[in-house]
Subunit: 211 residues, 2 copies
């Protein structure tokens, strides 16, 4: 009984056709994000992901041809989420403080699900060879949204590069949130408040003496 398993293209993953399998795939990606966030890239093993998803290792390999494609799926999902948060915060013309509050609230919420996922994705995990364009695109959009906000809330000054300001602002926010996540302090209201203060103070450009 030779199983006539058609394996014409081993690099193509199987498409989930029934509802059951779609749920399985979703569970796998969710578990992957959880493992990645909790154990880091070093602890990100396919077996561990399958176990966490409550699914057999064979099932995982039925939908993801290899480890990296699974990582790519997680990355895609998370980046889409974060991008939507920034986009929503900066879409209308709001007062500076309102913008800051919504942004901070959204970012904290996004990182509360998988506290260190963002950092792991950026630092530890290997950049995807398969979709390098997608990664660059995310970075560009990410910065672009910040730059838009900076441009609209900060009066133009001589020698103040908007892009540089956007980079400093975004990395400062990320740093604070990442640090808080490491201490399980994301929910602290004091943190949220001070982060808003930081953003408002920087963008309104105070503290400039004799310059």
């Amino acid at each position: 009984m030779s199983t006539r398993i058609a394996k014409p293209h081993p690099r193509m993953r199987k498409q989930p056709r029934q509802a059951r399998s779609r749920a399985t795939v979703e569970a796998i990606i969710e578990a992957a994000a959880h493992v990645l966030s909790g154990l880091g890239w070093a602890g990100f093993t396919t077996n561990k992901v399958a176990e966490t998803a409550g699914v057999s290792i064979g099932t995982l390999y039925q939908y993801f041809p290899d480890k990296l494609s699974l990582l790519a799926a997680v990355r895609r999902r998370h980046f889409d989420h974060v991008l939507s948060v920034i986009r929503d915060s900066a879409e209308d013309q709001k007062p500076l403080r309102t913008f800051a509050q919504e942004l901070v609230r959204g970012m904290i919420a996004a990182h509360s699900i998988h506290p260190t996922l963002h950092q792991v994705l950026l630092d530890e995990a290997p950049g995807d060879r398969g979709s390098r364009a997608a990664h660059a695109s995310f970075q560009a959009q990410y910065l672009n949204h910040y730059a838009t906000a900076v441009a609209s809330y900060r009066k133009p000054r001589k020698g103040a590069d908007t892009e540089a300001v956007a980079r400093v602002l975004s990395s400062a926010i990320e740093g604070v949130i990442h640090n808080a996540a490491r201490r399980n302090m994301l929910a602290a209201p004091e943190l949220q408040k001070q982060l808003v203060e930081l953003i408002c103070a920087y963008l309104s450009g105070a503290g400039r003496i004799g310059r």
Copy 2:
């Protein structure tokens, strides 16, 4: 908690007595920092460290009983360095902007040697079992120096927790520097300038409207 029966961490298996061996040990620690920073905790192998140090693996194990003791040595050295930078920046009574400039310059310099070492040490590498007290002590001193600066430069306000402000400030600075290190942008003068701006703006407490 009573006395935890931790087997004392053997710092060094053998004490270097001659000048040659002292140089060897130094080379090993330096190489370890380099590997940790460049390859991360996952790429931190004893063989790789020995190779980088231009030293045989056997020599390494003559002075460090195991991998973790080597990590501990790197951690000790780096933390001492960073602490001294903060201490020096905040020692005298200087104008806010001067303090910020010295702090930023020092931190950038400290991270220019091994760009991502700090982050790897905090995030990826396992917390040392042998000297958990030392680690906590570093964290405490680190925050304490920031808190001192915050207290002296920021007028007390109702409901503004000094410690929370210090934590936000320090993590924001770390975030910016870490991000810049990842892009090899640590040397950019625009970064340095904007980071100083951020610190001054936040500590001078501008941007507060109707509160």
